[in-house]
Amino acid sequence: MVDLSVDLPVDLSVDLSVDLGGGRRLPNPLMTASGCAANGKELHRFFDVADLGAFVTKSVMADPRSGRGTPRMAETPSGMLNSIGLQGPGIDAFVDEDLPWLKSVGARVLPSIAGSSSTEYAHVAATLRESRAFDAVVGVEVNISCPNVANRGLVFACDPMASAKVIALVREQLPRDIPVFAKLSPDVTDITAIAAACVKAGADGLTMINTLLGMVIDTDRMRPQLGGVTGGLSGPGIRPVAVRAVWQVRQAMFEGRMPTVPIIGVGGVRTGRDALELVAAGASAIQVGTAVFNDPSAPVRVLRELGELLRAKGFDRFTDAVGVAHGR
């Protein structure tokens, strides 16, 4: 492992800890983003994954999945398009190998779970609960941006009812002190409606945003560049959409249109300044996704930069900065 201790820890004069529910306090608000950090071993070569507030794993489904054919990615201006097709080992291998490894290095884990039916989500959550390393889990993120096989392949997160059903079933499977986060798609007419439906169904928090549906044409071959035709757009180019989504939902909470729950902000964060944008808009934690492909140690660098910025701005506590841009 590359020794980062000279750069870390972040300046201790700012209290970076945050409580995202379940009574556990995370030492800081920085996380990996699901699918952008695999399940820990790879990035542990660059920094200690236990230095993060939490490690978010690749969305896992019930069975092993090969994912889609290739090409699976296209670079786009200040971003990229991907269509991985949720390749993964399946929940059994995850709880046997990945979760215990993460626990062994002291990481706090926020597993991301997925399914193509609400019962698959519930099964994955139940398997997780029964796992021997479950005490490393500080919450569960529910990726509802998967195509719903029962509903013409439309993704769950595009429909308040379908989203709510998944969240309710997952919530039932997990102990009360494990907060459940619904991860929302920005590809909807009104994200506050989906957010409210998820919270009503039992979500203890929200993660925003997943990728935007996009497409690239390979103009040499004059056909869609990705094997999967469309894909998910991520990276700094979409940050303004993430900031807006977090702002809108936080605003709905401030106005009493839905209960107040913690929001995990994700989308285009590359620097501490970018993270601060999401925080000021209302995010209580930050995930770094695509930026990891540019800089494998981005999550800890962003944490350090965020801490320095907060100190420079005179904040004593990270939580004091959450949502401050509202009403200014």
Partner: protein
């Protein structure tokens, strides 16, 4: 994937360009990157960030390590050979001495070395020969007889013919247009060389089509092919799952494996060449977790 590979050390450093020169159609860069230089083995690669503070080009570009000098006047250096084909490679090829580039490496698995001094044939297509000279030296240090086949579309796209003659026991050159060496493909002289030298291993680096035919020829002539592939990679470090390809594991089952951490070097006969088609790779129906009807 073995625990060892994953825990293999990797460095991230801001490297100064100390030399850059044109070699035929390519640009040969020397970077000061002591951390990478110290750890690297032949067949591994580095991933370079593109553009400065204003860059909208987020993904790193991968390059085989041509050569390392673990210590020297400037500290350890790493050399790469760049073919400028798009925005990223153009930017890298244009760097002048004293410019800096952010480098991550060494990445991926190195070429496996034979434990006994068998004869080896090293086949490079275009800039694909870049990592082979270093490999040749290591093989010869182990007492292997080493021959090299260098092929390209035309003479300017050959890399390292002179160096090959210095570092190998025999060199054959092919070009598609006959502008240097014999006209044709690297696979044309290969059978004769394997048979003559009794080669046990054929190492290959170059375009997919070439690697497939090297594998076929090697198999037909009783040698093992070890090929370094070049799939489109978003991260290079094993976290994004974009660089996958169908490869048969030791249990005989095909999986979509990451070529950045489980490769770029694979046994040629483990690669499911049947799944590749015009830049796309299908998921074979018999692959672990392959989509059922309707797909994912």
């Amino acid at each position: 994937m073995s625990e060892r590979t994953l825990r293999a050390r990797v460095a991230q450093e801001v490297a100064e360009v100390i030399a850059t020169r044109r070699v035929g159609a390519y640009q040969h860069l020397t970077l000061v990157a002591p951390g990478v230089a110290e750890l690297a083995r032949p067949g591994q690669f580095v991933a370079l960030a593109v553009g400065g503070e204003t860059s909208g080009t987020l993904l790193r570009r991968s390059f085989s390590i041509h050569k390392v000098s673990p210590s020297g006047t400037y500290g350890g250096t790493v050399e790469i050979v760049v073919s400028a084909v798009g925005v990223g490679t153009r930017w890298i090829a244009e760097r002048a001495p004293h410019d800096t580039i952010d480098v991550v490496g060494p990445l991926g698995k190195a070429f496996p070395l034979p434990t006994s001094p068998v004869a080896c044939v090293l086949v490079g297509g275009g800039y694909g020969s870049a990592p082979l000279f270093w490999l040749a030296s290591e093989l010869r240090e182990r007492g292997c007889h080493v021959e090299m086949v260098l092929g390209a579309a035309s003479e300017d796209r050959l890399f390292g013919v002179v160096e090959a003659r210095r570092s190998c026991d025999g060199v054959t050159v092919t070009t598609d247009d006959g502008s240097a060496g014999q006209r044709g493909w690297v696979s044309d002289p290969l059978p004769e060389i394997i048979d003559r030298t009794g080669a046990g291993v054929v190492y290959g680096c170059g375009p997919m089509g070439m690697l497939e035919s090297i594998t076929r020829v090697a198999q037909a002539h009783g040698a093992v092919a070890q090929v370094a592939v070049e799939e489109s990679m978003a991260c290079g470090v094993g976290v994004c799952m974009t660089c996958v390809m169908p490869v048969v594991g030791s249990d005989g089952r095909t999986r979509m494996v990451r070529s950045c951490v489980e490769g770029p070097v694979f046994r040629g006969d483990a690669v499911r060449w049947d799944a590749f088609d015009g830049g796309h790779a299908r998921v074979p129906d018999d692959a672990v977790g392959a989509p059922k009807v309707g797909g994912h």
